[in-house]
């Protein structure tokens, strides 16, 4: 369970997040939408404990900065975060060791799913941007997190990887993980979401559950971002 209560984040005079609250239950996929500069990435970084903020963020009722909470979290950053001088498989070994997790075969499985297995001995700097993004996703998932945050995960991915990632969304949901996906590619998550949060100007302007009615994310997004608050 991920809980965000009254989170506010300022950069100097700029109010990047203004009193934002949201909640994602185990086995729920939440989508975070918003135009550029809405404050989505800032919120995600705050959730991951990477930014200081006002308000409360908990993962399974534990403060997001606590070690217990950190061990539950998986984070796919907006830009691929890979080390030039480590090979593909060494990235996963590093994460497993850093998170004190035994390799139960998931590392190899992830590499195969994202077509990186034959490149496992290549240095990350030799990978294309898209492959680096796939590796970044593998790193976020290899320690079996219970709360997974994806910040624009599909950018640069090929169709095969997008298909795999969509399947992984479903698998994470079935395994009881709380999943938060920030994306501009609304079509890509249309079939998977359980709840949606729409941010505009640092504020949450709308929150809907799938069960609230028969509407598309795209319709909702444009109605909210072009007309103002419908909350």
């Amino acid at each position: 369970m991920l809980s965000v209560k009254n989170v506010t984040k300022k950069y100097g005079r700029l109010l990047a997040n203004n009193n934002v609250s949201l909640e994602i239950s185990p086995g729920e996929i939440a989508v975070l939408l918003g135009p550029n500069g809405a404050g989505k990435s800032t919120l995600i970084k705050a959730v991951c404990g990477l930014l200081r903020h006002e308000g409360e963020i908990t993962l399974n009722s534990m403060n997001n900065k606590s070690l217990e909470a950190k061990s539950l979290l998986g984070y796919v950053p907006e830009l691929p975060a890979v080390y030039d001088l480590l090979t593909v498989s060494e990235h996963l070994q590093f994460i497993l060791r850093a998170y004190k997790t035994e390799d139960d075969g998931l590392a190899e499985k992830l590499l195969r799913r994202f077509e990186l297995y034959d490149k496992r001995d290549k240095l990350a700097k030799e990978l294309s941007k898209g492959m680096q993004q796939k590796l970044s996703i593998c790193c976020a998932l290899v320690h079996r997190p219970k709360v997974v945050i994806f910040d624009e995960p599909m950018v640069g991915l090929d169709p095969h990887a997008i298909k795999q990632l969509k399947e992984i969304f479903s698998e994470l949901k079935n395994e009881g993980a709380s999943v938060l996906i920030s994306t501009h590619m609304i079509d890509s998550v249309e079939d998977y979401w359980d709840s949606v949060y729409i941010m505009v100007g640092g504020q949450l302007r709308a929150h809907r559950k799938k069960s609230d009615g028969d509407f598309s994310l795209e319709e909702l997004f444009f109605s909210v971002t072009s007309e103002g608050s419908v909350r």
Binding site: K70, A81, L85, E90, Q93, K100
Partner: protein, 519 residues
């Protein structure tokens, strides 16, 4: 007004506006101007440092070597990425627009000239030294700085020409490299023979060798040195020859690229992309990785480390792969620089101060400093202090090893007393701890991944402030033991160790509270 003129003036106008919008830029410019002013005020009135000035020939030899090094370093990029006078925005917006390729080229050369001249400004800070040792006037130093910029520009243009000539095949690249390095080796070899330097190296002989007439024929650096020398000494013939050669080079470049090579866009694309990646990485707070082009992977797998210690084990693997021999590239450059300094200005104090100053580069390029630009160190579920200790663990031995190695050539060149050499090694290593500490405080206070001129200046101020106790202690000891400089140096070691330990304790939770912010 044409599109390119508009672009040129609009950017210029916006740069001026930035001073109003961002007062920090105005402040930094003022501080910069003040710093240059201080070097002028520190002018001893022309009094020589050691009773008499050193030979002016030596000064121009240093200038020629500097220009030569810039030329070789920049022009050789023609064998890999090429050289480009264009930015990525130029590539994406101008190249695809209906602007004439030749006009675009002229525009690129003009904007690169501005950037290159800016690069030479750092030389103005050498005024005090140049004045005290060689009796150099400020106008001469401005000419040297101008020459540096021109050398950088022409070297960049040479890189483009080389890329055009060799990029189409590996064979051509190999032949091109052989010719390029062959020419450079021929000049160095001729100078060594001319100066009779083999087995009997003296500064006088080295200066004589570098100042031989044939060295003016060294591509780019030769004719630029000639021009600077001519302008400074009022020798019109030298100046005219230099200007003529420079003009001929520019026209030849322009014709070769825009006429002989109808479509030159591809030749500058890779270089523009590489530069763009480096700028983007810097904006995201990722220090550019200084690694050999072809990394030898060696032993694979991370088999050690658990929890926080996995970070330092990862660093060991990365360091092993990024090194050339035992040292990384930066340490090798620092060692070579201090060795060169020992030849040119044989002042132990000057060399030690310079060696401490170079710690800025060593620490900034450290693996741990790069790690802060990745999210993992913040995400790993371990106590922040434990992570911090393992984070900086790789840097401390690196600083110690570098401090030992960089003074070995100095010891042999200056024939310093062994105790003094060991003291310098120990003192530099201890100052390294202070630089690491200052970096941590910087991270604690600003925690922004992107470094601006203002924050870097503040970092330098922190470092100076944290170094002060050791410096004061060293100065005090020198009052009591004026003929034992090693005692002053050794006195700084425990002080720096204590100060850095206090800093480490004060910022023990830096990884908990600092922000991973690349906005």
């Amino acid at each position: 007004m044409g599109a390119l003129s508009y672009l040129f003036f609009a950017r210029l106008r916006n740069q001026v506006k930035e001073f109003v919008r961002k007062p920090s830029k105005l402040i930094m410019t003022a501080v910069f101007a003040l710093a240059i002013g201080v070097t002028l005020l520190a002018d001893s009135g022309g009094a020589p440092h050691y009773g008499s000035y050193r030979s002016i020939e030596e000064f121009y030899a240093v200038v020629a070597v500097l220009y030569g090094a810039v030329f070789v370093t920049v022009a050789k990029n023609g064998f890999s990425n090429g050289g480009s006078v264009f930015s990525m925005a130029d590539v994406n917006l101008i190249f695809v627009s209906p602007v004439k390729a030749s006009s675009a080229l002229f525009f690129g050369m003009l904007q690169q000239l501005g950037k290159s001249l800016y690069l030479g400004v750092f030389l103005l800070f050498q005024y005090t030294l140049a004045r005290e040792y060689y009796g150099i006037e400020y106008t001469t130093l401005i000419l040297v700085a101008f020459g540096y910029g021109i050398t950088a520009l022409f070297s960049q243009m040479t890189a483009t020409l080389i890329y055009m000539a060799v990029s189409s095949s590996d064979r051509k690249t190999k032949i091109g490299k052989a010719v390029f390095y062959g020419v450079v080796a021929a000049f160095i070899g001729a100078a060594v023979i001319r100066g009779g330097l083999i087995g009997d190296f003296t500064i006088e002989k080295a200066v004589y060798a570098v100042r031989s007439t044939f060295m003016y024929f060294m591509p780019v650096s030769g004719f630029v040195t000639l021009g600077v020398e001519g302008a400074a000494s009022g020798e019109v013939i030298k100046l005219i020859i230099s200007l003529g050669t420079g003009l001929a080079f520019s026209i030849a470049y322009y014709i070769l690229i825009s006429k002989a090579r109808g479509d030159y866009y591809e030749d500058v694309l890779l270089s523009a992309q590489t530069y763009f990646s480096a700028v983007t990485a810097a904006k995201e707070g990722k220090a550019a990785e200084v690694t050999p082009k072809n990394v030898r992977v060696g032993r694979e797998g991370l088999t050690r480390g658990y929890g926080a210690s996995a970070v330092s084990e990862k660093h060991k693997t990365e360091n092993r792969r990024s090194r050339v021999l035992l040292l990384d590239k930066i340490s090798l450059v620092i060692t070579a620089m201090l060795a060169l300094y020992s030849f040119i200005l044989p002042s132990v104090t000057g060399i030690f101060v310079t060696s401490v100053y170079t710690l800025t580069i060593t620490v900034a390029a450290g693996r741990w400093a790069k790690e802060l630009a990745y999210p993992y160190i913040y995400l790993i579920p371990e106590k922040p202090f434990k992570k911090l200790v393992y984070l900086i663990r790789e840097q401390i031995p690196s600083v110690i090893i570098e401090s030992i190695i960089c003074f070995i050539p100095v010891h042999f060149i200056l024939k310093t007393d062994i105790l003094l050499t060991l003291s310098m090694m120990a003192a530099r290593a201890a100052f390294g701890l202070i630089f690491i500490g200052a970096n941590l405080v910087f991270q604690r206070l600003f925690s922004s991944a992107s470094k601006t001129v203002l924050t870097i200046t503040l970092y330098m101020l922190f470092t100076a402030a944290f170094s002060m106790p050791a410096i004061i202690c060293g100065v005090l000891v020198s009052f009591f033991a004026p003929f034992n400089p090693e005692l002053s140096l050794l006195a700084t070691v425990p002080v720096n160790a204590v100060v850095s330990a206090v800093i480490l304790f004060a910022v023990r939770n830096v990884l908990q509270y600092s922000e991973y912010n690349n906005r």
